[in-house]
């Protein structure tokens, strides 16, 4: 990875939890807003339920940061057209870097005996 790209990635870490949840929810493909909300809830057994404000506030910022991009699709009329989002390459890198960061943190926590060896 070129250095400036790497530093751009690092500048975004640590990610806000909502960002990471959204990145993970979009990991398997594009989704619209409510579907992201639903996916996050499913993955966390209903513990994390994002509000529309958190969701779209995060989407706005993630779009601006280039983590995700918007694609318009659907078959219904213009009014019913939903906005779909998907990860960008950059978004994937950032998600991976964040995952790296978290797993190394986890390793350190294990090494210092804070976490049982097998979860």
């Amino acid at each position: 990875m070129p250095r400036d790209l790497e530093s751009e990635v690092q500048a975004l870490l640590p990610l806000a939890p909502a960002f990471l949840h959204i990145l993970i929810a979009l990991g398997e493909g594009e989704r619209h807003g409510y579907s992201i909300m639903q996916e996050v809830a499913d993955r966390t057994s209903g513990r994390v339920r994002m509000s529309p404000g958190t969701l779209y506030g995060s989407i706005k910022r993630m779009l601006a940061d280039g983590l995700i991009e918007e694609l318009t699709t659907g078959t219904a009329g213009a009014d019913e057209r939903r906005r779909f989002y998907r990860l960008t390459k950059f978004g994937r890198r950032v998600a991976a870097a964040e995952a790296d960061r978290l797993s190394s943190l986890l390793l350190q926590a294990r090494a210092s005996g804070l976490v049982p060896k097998r979860s």
Binding site: H32, G33, Y34, M37, Q38, R49, S51, P52, G53, T54, L55, Y56, G57, I59, K60, R82, R83
Partner: protein, 862 residues
């Protein structure tokens, strides 16, 4: 279409908390997500719905403001970028605003410190001063006799009354003898003002008893200075005129409205005090529940009772009552301060108009950019907000710079303030002043942003683009012309004011003094003690040898002695009656008196008009020299020499000479009737020695040395040059003249920039039209006339408004002027023509540029 369910409408309402742009982008999506989420959560049960509701509330209070902040930050960044690309505009605007805000902050800090803060005394709004008053002698306020003071105090039920007598004493304590202002106060004085001593105690009623010894209080300044802040000062003893005084306490100077440094109990000896001897000062505090009018009425009624009980001493004497606030900060002073505030307010308005004009010019120049942004989807409100953000940023920068400017300027201004201005030394940029400046900034930001914001919100995208970014020649021109006109009006107003104040100051400084102040130095001293107790003692034993010694010194042109030199502060006067025929009939004439030595008139260069001066050498005769005004008031054109006057218990006096009138107290006061007695017969406890010296002599040192050689125990004080004393007397008018003058100059420059800006803008907008006109045969002078004419119309409108404004406030300013009418036509004419000339020059430059338009180039640009 069916109404959406109530919860959806509620949520739509909540979404209004978000910024418009955010809603434009996401409102529909959020509504949809909400609908689906609600359906899902309903299935889960009421707990889930409740959780959703809470989340939405949190969204509205936490997330929505964050979005607003985001937009603001974005606007700020954009604005910073656009300002950086237009540094001349940015610097001009910020500097103009800094000047306006800085000037207002500085002047307001004076107004606040002097006039707006409550006085630092307990229940200060109920404190009053009470004077005796005699309308038949034209005395509006006079000291109070001790017996009258005691009677008022005993009889008044609505006012608590205290009194004091001022003076000065020579202290002999730890260091060299020092002369200090002293005051004998009735002990409840300190309780009335709520004074808390810094050390020891204040004086109490028991201290006035004859056997209470000599307890005294000192002010903190005397404690820190003379006593070196010694912790053992309470209980220590000082000597005054051979008598030991025990210091019982130290009080903070800020807690009392007197400048004295040494306080002794006021004792009343009914066997020696008379009702006609008016020497005490009286202050009171209205008891709770009583109004000023009730208190005034009651003391007035008591004065009437006393008048009928003691007609000999109290006939025609009534009272004057004012609040202590009005006494300390007279209405004139406040008015002068508000005039200054008004002047800087005008400067700020002009600055706002200028920045508004600059922004309008910028908006016009950026119409194409704006149009493009509108065309690619930027919301119109976004553009308006852009203008507002820009104005707010400029205001913030200008305001911050202005406040810094004020921090720097206030200590400088403090030096210019008249010494007599109460609390002048406390002028600082304090928290309330900062609050004021902040408010001024907010208003300023809005004031100059309104027109540009309106201008940028109007018009259609297609129009903008069709015009090729040039804009129609009329767009934005009208508000800009109005602004320039307003600037001219305000500048005219300020110039008229400055003209009036400067003339007033000049006339004040050119006023006929009646004596020659050049080279004169005065010094005060008081002779006390046993060896001077004999009649004529102080004169023969001390003053005459002192004057002889001084007169013999090199460089000294003359020496004299007086009980009070002109502009030395303080006054002595008494009512006198003519013996025999006079214009006054039975009525008394209130006359100022001075004790002077025979050489006084020669040294002061006061002309002798008739008769002769006092003869040197002691005399037993009651000889009197009168000033011209007194002679005229008493005897008209008749020869006063040899006529006599009666000075009550002081006997009958014969006039031996008439001298010229002298301004004694204040430059702006016409000379009062004055008479002179000879020091060969009487010497006042405190006398002023006057030395007239040539270039290079050092009269101050000379005076101190001569006194020390004669009496090392004697303190010399208030050593001042006469010209400095006179200068002080003009300090207030000088402040008005210099501040208003300074700001009027700035205003004229700003107004010139305003006119220049508008005309330059019009010329640039109409380049093409000029080209066509010239191609069709219009001559250069015709084009010049076209634009110059436009400038003149603007100027004329502004001038008319400015002159009307200055006439409207003339009644208000009039009382601050000396010997100048507030509607002085010459001042108005000169100020008006100055503005017109400046405007003409400012307009000529762009107008001439219009004549340089090359028709070919102008047309080819199409």
């Amino acid at each position: 279409m069916p109404q959406p369910p109530i919860v959806e409408r509620l949520y739509r309402l909540l979404l209004r908390c978000y910024p418009g742009e955010f809603r434009d982008d996401y409102e529909r999506e959020m509504m949809r997500a909400f609908r689906e989420r609600l359906a899902h959560d309903r299935a889960l049960g009421p707990g889930a719905v409740l959780r959703l509701g809470l989340q939405l509330l949190v969204d509205a209070v936490v997330r929505a403001p964050r979005e607003h902040l985001d937009v603001l930050r974005q606007d700020g960044r954009y604005t910073l970028r656009s300002l950086r690309s237009a540094p001349v505009f940015a610097i001009t605007a910020v500097a103009t605003l800094a000047l306006g805000v800085g000037a207002n902050t500085a002047i307001f800090s004076i107004v606040h410190a002097v006039a707006l803060r409550p006085l630092p005394y307990e229940a200060s709004d109920r404190l009053v001063r009470i004077w005796e008053r005699n309308d038949s002698l034209s005395i509006p306020d006079f000291a109070v006799s001790m017996p009258n003071f005691i009677s008022w105090r005993e009889r008044a039920t609505t006012v608590d009354i205290v009194g004091w007598r001022g003076g000065s004493v020579t202290l002999r304590g730890p260091g060299d003898p020092v002369r200090v202002q002293s005051v004998n106060v009735s002990p409840d004085f300190f309780r009335l003002l709520g004074v808390t001593p810094l050390a020891g105690r204040v004086l109490v009623e028991a201290d006035t008893a004859a056997n209470a010894g000599n307890p005294a209080l000192i002010r903190d300044s005397l404690w820190r200075g003379y006593f070196g802040g010694s912790p053992n000062v309470v209980g220590s003893t000082v000597t005054i005129a051979g008598q030991p005084y025990t210091i019982v306490g130290v009080i903070p100077g800020s807690s009392i409205p007197l400048s004295a440094e040494f306080f002794m109990p006021l004792r009343f000896d009914p066997t020696t005090e008379t009702r006609g001897n008016r020497i005490a000062n009286v202050m009171g505090r209205l008891k709770p529940g009583f109004t000023f009018a009730q208190g005034e009425q009651e003391v007035q009624a008591i004065a009437s009772q006393l008048e009928s009980e003691f007609p000999d001493s109290n006939r025609r004497w009534s009272i004057t009552m004012t609040s202590v606030y009005d006494w300390l900060i007279p209405e004139e002073t406040r008015r002068a301060l508000y005039v200054l505030l008004g002047a800087v307010g005008c400067v700020l308005l002009i600055a706002c108009a200028n920045v508004a004009n600059l922004m309008l010019a910028r908006t016009a120049a950026r119409r194409r950019e704006m149009a493009v942004r509108l065309a690619i989807g930027a919301a119109r409100r976004r553009l308006v907000r852009q203008v507002l953000t820009e104005s707010m940023l400029l205001t913030a920068l200008g305001g911050a710079a202005g406040i810094l400017l004020a921090y720097w300027a206030v200590p400088v201004i403090r030096q210019w303030l008249p010494e007599t201005l109460t609390r002048a030394d406390e002028v600082t940029v304090s928290a309330p002043v900062l609050l004021f400046s902040f408010g001024v900034c907010m208003l300023t930001g809005l004031a100059f942003a309104v027109l540009p914001a309106l201008a940028s919100s109007r018009g259609h995208v297609t129009d903008f683009l069709k015009e090729g970014g040039r804009g129609s020649s009329a767009a934005g021109a009208t508000p800009r012309q109005l602004l320039a006109g307003a600037q001219v009006a305000l500048a005219t107003l300020l110039l008229v004011g400055a003209g009036l104040f400067i003339q007033s100051l000049q006339r004040l400084q050119r006023v006929e003094l009646g004596f020659d102040p050049r080279g004169i130095t005065t010094a005060m001293m008081g002779v006390q003690g046993e060896r001077f107790a004999t009649q004529g003692g102080p004169w023969n034993l001390f003053y005459r040898p002192l004057l002889e010694r001084l007169a013999a010194a090199p460089g000294v042109e003359g020496v004299a002695l007086s009980s009070g030199a002109p502009f030395g502060g303080g006054n002595t006067g008494m009512p006198i009656n003519a013996v025999g025929d006079s214009l006054m009939g039975e009525a008394a004439l209130q006359t100022d008196w001075r004790m002077v030595n025979p050489d006084y008139f020669k040294t002061m260069r006061i002309p002798l008009l008739r008769g002769r001066y006092f003869r040197p050498g002691a005399t037993d005769e009651n000889e009197l020299i009168v000033a011209a005004t007194m002679a005229r008031r008493m005897w008209g054109d008749a020869d006063p020499i040899g006529r006599q006057i009666s000075a009550g218990p002081n006997g009958i006096w014969t006039v031996i000479g008439v001298v010229g009138d002298v301004r004694n107290l204040d430059l702006s006061l016409a000379p009062a009737p004055t008479m002179y007695l000879s020091t060969t017969r009487f010497v006042w406890p405190t006398m002023t020695v006057i030395v007239r010296a040539g270039e290079g002599a050092q009269p101050a040192a000379l005076l101190r040395n001569a006194v020390r050689e004669l009496d090392p125990q004697l303190a010399v004080f208030n050593v001042r040059e006469m010209e400095a004393l006179i200068d002080d007397s003009a300090a207030q008018p000088r402040l008005s003249a210099s501040v208003v003058g300074l700001f009027a100059g700035i205003a004229a420059v700003l107004a010139a920039i305003g006119i220049y800006g508008v005309l330059a803008y019009l010329v640039s907008q109409r380049t093409q039209e000029i080209g066509i006109r010239m191609a069709l045969g219009a001559s250069r002078p015709a084009v010049l006339r076209l634009f110059l004419g436009r400038g003149l119309v603007l100027t004329a409108g502004g001038l008319v408004a400015g002159v009307a404004g200055s006439l409207a406030i003339s009644r208000w300013v009039g009382s601050l002027l000396f010997d100048v009418q507030a509607k002085d036509p010459w001042t108005i004419a000169i100020a008006g023509s100055t503005v017109a000339a400046v405007a003409l020059i400012a307009g000529y430059i762009p107008a001439r540029r219009a004549t340089r338009v090359d028709p070919l180039t102008a047309l080819r640009a199409e």
